[in-house]
Amino acid sequence: MRATLPLTVLAVVAEEETYGYAIAQRLQAAGLGAVKGGTLYPVLNRLEQEGLVTSSWREGAGGPGRKFFTVTPHGRAHLAERAAAWHTFTERAAGLLPSVGSPR
């Protein structure tokens, strides 16, 4: 889970421009479990440092400001590349693993 977090967070940001809490909710809704703020923001910061996302603070409706994250063209290219590698890897690994319910 930890290892795939940067890639899944990047995928969520690539879907649409969004902010921390909404990203955490999206990951949970996708069945990836609850991600604490203390884990999520360092990942977002790293993605930004690597130039894969950019961020900007925006005034909320009456509420406090929120930091919105947007994917960069480099981030999109990186996501496509890593996603392809991930699928190749999982297909190969799945070929070695017994299928669910089959005798060992």
Binding site: K36, P64, G65, K67
Partner: protein, 168 residues
Amino acid sequence: MTTGTDTYRRELVQALRTGNVPPERIGEIVAEVESHVADTGEDPREAFGPAREYAAGFRRPRSRWSAAARPAPTLLGALCGFLVGNGVVGLVDGEPALGMPAWVVLTAGAVLWIPSLVAVLRLSVPVPDPRTGRSITPAPGPVATAVGMGATLVAVAVACWGLAVLTS
């Protein structure tokens, strides 16, 4: 804002400053925490862990120079007070201070006040809040700091003068 968030902010700013994180970065990190818990309704400690541990992930190596400069304000301030005190006592008693004319020691102490003020101001650079552009820490401004430090120095001088007059 709750007291829990206020305490957490103070602890986090302090831990990040100690970890040599630049002020702009500190402002970002603090604003992220506060904006997130405002959305989730969590206690910051629950969502981000103890401030010191969360700050440790952002720590930056300190250059030898800046590490050496950390105790500078305290040392300079202590030296400044020491020289002024000795100078005042020497003047009152009409005797040399530290083997030098008392007025030289007093002047040296008074002049040393400037670098110690600069050192204090350099270490307490305000942290900007990226949401508002204002300072996130209710730190006293440069003028207030200068007045406060000046008043302390005058108080030291007056106290030494009083003591010298009483004992001579």
